[in-house]
Amino acid sequence: MRSFFLRTAVRVLLPMLLLFSIYLFLRGHNEPGGGFVAGLTAAAAWSLYAIAFDSRHARAAFRVEPRRLIATGLLVILASGLISTFSGRSYLSGIWFSLPVPGLGDIDLGTPVLFDLGVFMTVIGVTLGIVFSLEEVEE
């Protein structure tokens, strides 16, 4: 029996937490935050969802299969480092460029950000994968 209030609360909380997680991710390179924490936050949000509803609903709402998210995250991590290898430098060397964004000034973008994105994806995929399967255990 999952309480109605919990479900409602989670419905409201989920988008907020996800937004928060993106915020954490974006600021991570400069302030406390980063891919790990952001990923965990997002995963925690979805875990709440999975507890409030059930894993079948959560899987449906989440859409992406955790396994694919994990694999993609790892691929992103792997590839972010390879860019520098193929441009003649050490693996995982940061390659940076500035992106002028109107209103925000220049934003530094670089392969480490991509790397962090991979971490973000992997962490979400892993945590959800674990939570979902733990919820689906049958006696």
Partner: protein
């Protein structure tokens, strides 16, 4: 030379296919290989008897001092001729003996491998090459003794032979390594040329002793002799080849070979000649009670190997010459007699002399081969055995009464044994009846004994040329100078002749008294001996192993954990105390109220977690510990850590709660005493870690490398949050690995939870 040695290995590959395509002729065809080798070695007689030695060296592992090299001198040539010649006869014999056996092809293959190995032993020019082939003989002998592998006795005997000779081989290896350190080389020509100072090296004695140990096991010297009679479980071709004519001579060969190098060591003569003498007498004594033809011959072989060892220990020129001459004579007659025994077994279905007799009528040609071989063994003229025995007596007399007495006694038994196999079996009135009606053995079984016995006769009639071409050159290499060939059938009426006559008479008396003698000897030896010792040791090893394993690996995790933690704590703690690692810092900044509060909270929560009987309570306490740790991170400037820890802790608690639905409740399994004991162990570990931490925070020998990160983070890595920059950039590779760990965990959880289940009964 390498080709001659390795050709047998190549031939062995052909054996099985050949056996399939030409089952009846395979033995004859394969025998062409050793025959060819035999002829090749014959062509070397000229140069070698002229005093030349042939050397061939291929580098193998020079860094390890290992060479693949060959060295052929008189002794090597003598052995090579025996190995290849008898090898050819044995292959033919095996074809007849095991006709129709499904694994005959393997038998041929193993025999050829063995021949290669044996040639390698006798022709090697480097002791590690010797060792290589030495072990190969052990292995091929193992496979051959256990040929009849469905029979448990065969398997047991094979293993016994392997362990005894293999153990000796290992001792020998250790000895060789020591010898290498003492002499700086293991190359045989170099060793032969080494200076006598070698013997003063402190390692020379141990080296010699260990190498001799190897030689003794291989040549079945007391107290390792027991494997040889047991090896008679092998099919007779194997016994004839390996266990009489060739392999067992490897030890003696090595003793002779190394005599010039290590023989002057004070240890050598007492050790070798005493072992030889004991074996000589023991083998003779044991032979008295045997009624199984093969075991009788085996003990007689043990005895004669003892004789050869004794001669190799005495090391007078005469003794060495006698060793060479006798080795040759023995190989001829013993090989022949083994084959005869096999033929008898094959035709009658038994080897028990008490059930045999008068076979000469049914098996005339076999008897015709047995007679000269037996006479040679009994050292009667005009056979070569007689000449050999004369030289042996001469050498023994020269060395003293004790040696002579021993040789004399054993020789009398040899006469007895010869009489049993050549006379009792073929000419005496049968005491019982064999299981099968005997027929003449087929040609393949007759050929070997006839040829070998004929050679014995020929050699006895014409000892001169043989001596000049083969035996004298062989002995010369051992003595160190050329010898005057002097073998002759007739030396005139010398005391030696009288002794020979006396020996024959004693042996004949033994033969006549054989029935009571057998009973007496059997009664006296029952239940004793190193064979029993081996059995006890063998069983003991298994008992020890089981006991030790039960002690260490007894199945409960907490026992393993206890030991592991204690070992770790003990080791680290001891070193910390011994090496002055303890250093209490003088002063630390105190703690604020909040800090103390958090520390107390963690302590309390941890205490609660381990004492509570509610698993939910324990998990909640665990969460409190985690939050407390997060708070500490936050207080000491690590917000990233605190956030992560906080989130992870929450998730962990969720996971626990989700899982608890499927997990057992807490139960109290351990007794109070166990809990106290575990608590003690845990406290030890805890105290150690506290002390380590305290000692570590007090000292910082070098400043950390972190200041670099503060400088490089923004300009080079474009980030202000240094921790995050380290994670994704400076040490991004750690993070990469860590994400793989995460992925693995997810896969693992999925697999464990979802893998289809089978409920255990």
């Amino acid at each position: 030379m390498s080709i001659t040695v390795l050709s047998g290995l190549a031939g062995s590959l052909l054996a099985a296919p050949l056996q399939r395509t030409a089952p009846r002729r395979a033995g004859w065809l394969l025998a062409l290989l050793p025959l060819g080798l035999f002829i090749y070695f014959l062509t070397l007689l000229g140069p070698v008897s002229a005093g030349r030695t042939l050397v061939e060296t291929l580098p193998w592992a020079p860094g390890l001092g290992v060479e693949f090299s060959f060295y052929l001198d008189g002794l090597g040539l003598l052995m090579a001729l025996l190995v290849s010649g008898i090898g050819a006869l044995v292959l033919v014999y095996a074809g007849g003996y095991l006709e129709g056996h499904p694994q005959l092809g393997r038998m041929y293959a193993f025999l050829l491998v063995f021949m290669s190995a044996m040639l390698g032993v006798v022709l090697s020019g480097h002791l590690l090459t010797t060792f290589l082939f030495w072990e190969l003989t052990s292995i091929s002998s193992f496979l051959l003794i256990g040929f009849d592998h469905k029979d448990e006795t065969s398997r047991k005997s094979a293993l016994q032979a392997l362990l005894v000779t293999g153990g000796g081989g290992l001792a020998m290896l250790a000895g060789l390594v020591l010898l290498n350190q003492a002499a700086g080389t293991l190359s045989i020509p170099a060793l032969l040329a080494s200076s006598p100072d070698l013997l003063k090296h402190p390692l020379a004695g141990p080296a010699a002793a260990l190498i001799l140990l190897g030689a003794f096991t291989k040549s079945a010297q007391f107290p390792f002799h027991f494997w040889l009679p047991n090896a008679m479980a092998a099919p007779t071709p194997v016994s004839a080849y390996l266990h009489s004519a060739t392999m067992v001579k490897a030890g003696v060969f090595l003793i002779l070979r190394l005599g010039p190098v290590l023989g002057d060591h004070p240890l050598w003569t007492p050790l070798v000649s005493l072992t030889g003498a004991v074996t000589l007498l023991l083998g003779a004594w044991m032979a008295l009670s045997q009624t199984d033809l093969k075991r009788l011959l085996a003990y007689s072989t043990v005895s004669m190997l003892g004789l050869l060892t004794l001669l190799g220990g005495l090391r007078t020129p005469l003794a060495l010459e006698a060793a060479v001459v006798f080795l040759f004579a023995h190989a001829l007659y013993k090989g022949a007699l083994f084959m005869v025994a096999g033929a008898v077994d094959h035709e009658t279905g038994t080897r028990d002399v008490t059930r045999l007799g008068g076979l000469a009528r049914r098996m005339p040609q076999t008897a015709a081969a047995a007679l000269p071989a037996g006479l040679s063994m009994a050292a009667l003229p005009p056979l070569f055995g007689f000449i050999a025995k004369e030289v042996v007596y001469e050498a023994a007399l020269e060395s003293g009464l004790f040696a002579f007495a021993a040789v004399f006694a054993a020789s009398a038994v040899t006469v007895f044994a010869a009489a049993v196999i050549a006379v009792e079996v073929f000419w005496a009135r049968p005491a019982g009846s064999p299981p099968r009606e005997p027929h003449e053995a087929p040609l393949a079984l007759r050929l070997g004994p006839l040829v070998l016995a004929g050679l014995g006769l020929l050699a006895g009639l014409l000892p001169g040329p043989l001596d000049r071409a083969l035996l004298s050159p062989a002995a010369a290499g051992l003595v160190g100078h050329p010898l005057q060939p002097g073998l002759a059938l007739w030396h005139g009426l010398t005391p030696l002749l009288a002794y020979s006559a006396l020996t024959f008479a004693a042996g004949a008396l033994l033969y006549l008294a054989r029935r009571p003698l057998r009973r007496l000897a059997a009664a006296l030896t029952a239940g004793f001996g190193p064979d029993r010792l081996y059995d006890l040791a063998y069983a003991g090893v298994f008992r020890l192993a089981a006991w030790q394993t039960g002690l260490l690996q007894h199945g409960t995790l907490r026992y393993y954990l206890n030991l592991t933690v204690l070992a770790a704590t003990g080791l680290v703690g001891t070193v910390l105390l011994l090496y002055g690692g303890l250093n209490m810092p003088a002063a630390f900044p105190g703690a604020t109220f909040y800090e103390v509060l958090i520390a107390a909270l963690i302590l309390l929560a941890a205490g609660f977690a381990i004492t509570t009987r509610s698993r939910l309570g324990a998990v909640a306490a665990l969460g409190v510990v985690g939050y407390g740790v997060a708070a500490i991170f936050l207080l000491f400037g690590a917000p990233d850590l605190a956030m992560t820890q906080f989130l992870i802790e929450s998730l962990t608690v969720i996971l626990f709660v989700l899982a608890f639905y499927h997990l057992p409740d807490f139960e109290r399994f351990s007794s109070r005493r166990t809990r106290l004991r575990d608590m003690l162990v845990a406290m030890l570990a805890g105290v150690l870690m506290t002390v380590l931490t305290l000692s570590a925070v007090g000292i910082q020998i070098f400043p950390t490398i972190s200041s670099y990160y503060a400088q490089a983070a923004l300009p080079e890595a474009h980030g202000r949050n240094i921790t995050n920059v380290i994670l994704v950039d400076f040490r991004g590779f750690d993070t990469l690995g860590e994400n793989v760990v995460l992925a693995l965990a997810a896969i693992g959880v999925f697999a464990l939870l979802k893998f289809p289940k089978r409920r255990q009964p």
